[in-house]
Symmetry: none
Subunit: 414 residues, 2 copies
Amino acid sequence: MIPITAEILTVGTEILLGNIVNSNAAFLSQELAKLGIAVYTHTSVGDNHGRLAAAMGQAMGRADIVITTGGLGPTLDDITKPVAADFFGLEMEIHAASHERILERYKGRALPENVERNALVPKGASVLPNDNGAAPGICIERDGKTLIMLPGPPYEMQPMFKNYGVALLKKNATRVFVSRTIKIIGMGETAVESQLRDLIEAQENPTIAPYAKLGEVHIRLTASAADESAANALLSPTAEEIHRRLGEKIYAEDETTLAETIIALLKSKSHTLAVAESCTGGMISSDLTAIAGCSEILREGFVTYSNEAKTARLSVGESILQAHGAVSAQTAAAMAEGAAKAANTTIGLSTTGIAGPDGGTAEKPVGTVHIGLYIEGEGTKTVSHHLTGQRNEVRKRTAILALDFLRLNLRTMP
Amino acid sequence: MIPITAEILTVGTEILLGNIVNSNAAFLSQELAKLGIAVYTHTSVGDNHGRLAAAMGQAMGRADIVITTGGLGPTLDDITKPVAADFFGLEMEIHAASHERILERYKGRALPENVERNALVPKGASVLPNDNGAAPGICIERDGKTLIMLPGPPYEMQPMFKNYGVALLKKNATRVFVSRTIKIIGMGETAVESQLRDLIEAQENPTIAPYAKLGEVHIRLTASAADESAANALLSPTAEEIHRRLGEKIYAEDETTLAETIIALLKSKSHTLAVAESCTGGMISSDLTAIAGCSEILREGFVTYSNEAKTARLSVGESILQAHGAVSAQTAAAMAEGAAKAANTTIGLSTTGIAGPDGGTAEKPVGTVHIGLYIEGEGTKTVSHHLTGQRNEVRKRTAILALDFLRLNLRTMP
């Protein structure tokens, strides 16, 4: 079967200058994937007539559907409509309904200069109403090809696409695509791939794509089928096999974050948490408080950089600090216990380490980190890592490994 | 003068599926703009040999410099290196220094399967070391054209480009471009533009480009000249004029972060700091501990979400909590004072607010935040804001506003 293909063409010099991130392309790609339309290329060009015309010609040559964003306004650097009219050899004309809509929009206010030019539309094109702005969207269909032009501001473009664009495309769609993302901590990308090599090599439908994130690996499965439930049925056996092989290394799927997973686990087991952070300096607390409702679980966080704070706040014994140093498994254990005791929680989680760039020694090089975990009734455990990378990479990896250490220990508990 | 042109070609199916936003293209565009290299096109393609080869051929045909990101790893769907080798008709060979680097990286650990394939490089290409991962970057120069291939993960790609890629590109430049970025908190983009309108309208060399970031506005000035000192001489009068107009709203220039500015200010005035965070939940402490050497300054952080913690740790009076609530200027003041007292510091900084999505009331809607600041010998001040946006936008804006409140108050002190 030949899939219906689409390309996304974003227009605007601000994208090429890096002043804005191209979130429109990501949004439209997600929406098209849901419709089972394969997106093979994204292109961004500036507000330049020649380069936009060339890019539009190439995209229309390759794909069944081209969706543009940006350059629909009434000013001189808004060139998408004239370029499209040239490409199809169409004249521009005032679209009566859009014109009325614009007059209605500015009723009782002064009409901004040139605003009526928003109603200029290539002859014979259909119009997608703009419920949140003055520039309508435009759709031109010719010889089995579709060009849809949408405005650039996301708050205009997104509802226009959802409310009017999807219906235009659905009449062309024959299949749906459904994705699942399986998220892993504690294995590198190559280790994941070597455990899944036979599946990856034999992949067909669903496709299997591993990719690396800082401290994590994600595996994306994508299946295509006639409808959503058939696609899900295709995904399930592969997802189950991956779960069987990687087991507890998998912390969540799709949009669920590690912090959400932890909060949900703690809630389900009626635990409360206190966090004591040295090298992560508040990052773990901050990650957890990103989740609405964390206040039921996270009672308190201690950022105890200094030895004095470790002693005053967490009752870490001076003898421990003297015998083993602030960066030691013994101190991590005492911090975790002290945090739980001070905040009256059932769990205490701690970090202490050398994030660098300075402070390393031969015995304790930069990247040495210790994580402590106290769980009421279970006692105290620690784990140590030797991490590579810059200061903030070490800090971020430590935060992830600490939360994952907590997750793994909670998982096996009743 | 014909400008040197570049294109950015991002490789990865996850971009075409909309699973990630293409932040690499934005980062590289900003960096190339600083070098005075004009970016005319961004293209994204998936992990598909034919489409990547076609896109690479087109980009190399149009531009002087093509920079790719992604697809450099050792796995089967990492195809950028073989496609480039085909394009230039080069064999692949093991790059000895990269191979050693990889073995060094995994010293004492099991070598993941295929990891050595990261050292495969097209013959005659030069290599950009990867200080944060296994896959080196690659640069091929032929017939006046340059292809630079960088890894996809931003934490590998960004330092590689800054530390090694910039130097490669600078040697091709016939003129130098020098940029200064002036960073502002406490004014919106339109307010900044209206204060600088005459400068922006008359801009020539240097160019003046304001752009909005979350909670900040940056103005990038770029001057081109025969050498760096001539470019700097062109920049100075404009930069000085902007400083004259915007004054204390400017917190730093270029790479200097708000946290670095604060740490330097506190150091120069021999202050020590304790932070007490409710709605920001550790974000301020974490931002400050991102700066090496912060331990001299930041004695302690308190994440006191609950009223109990505010009372136990910061001695916030129960009468204050009862009379005004946890989200109030009075509580913010008591938190700041209590943090400084408990940690024995000269300054205490606090936040309390309603980040949402729940917890708002008619009187204290979501986005209500209070910031408290105690300075020894100066007393306690508070400031309140009503912020818009999602939970984590409110949290991030609060952290920025709190640090900026501290900065503005330190600035006027002896």
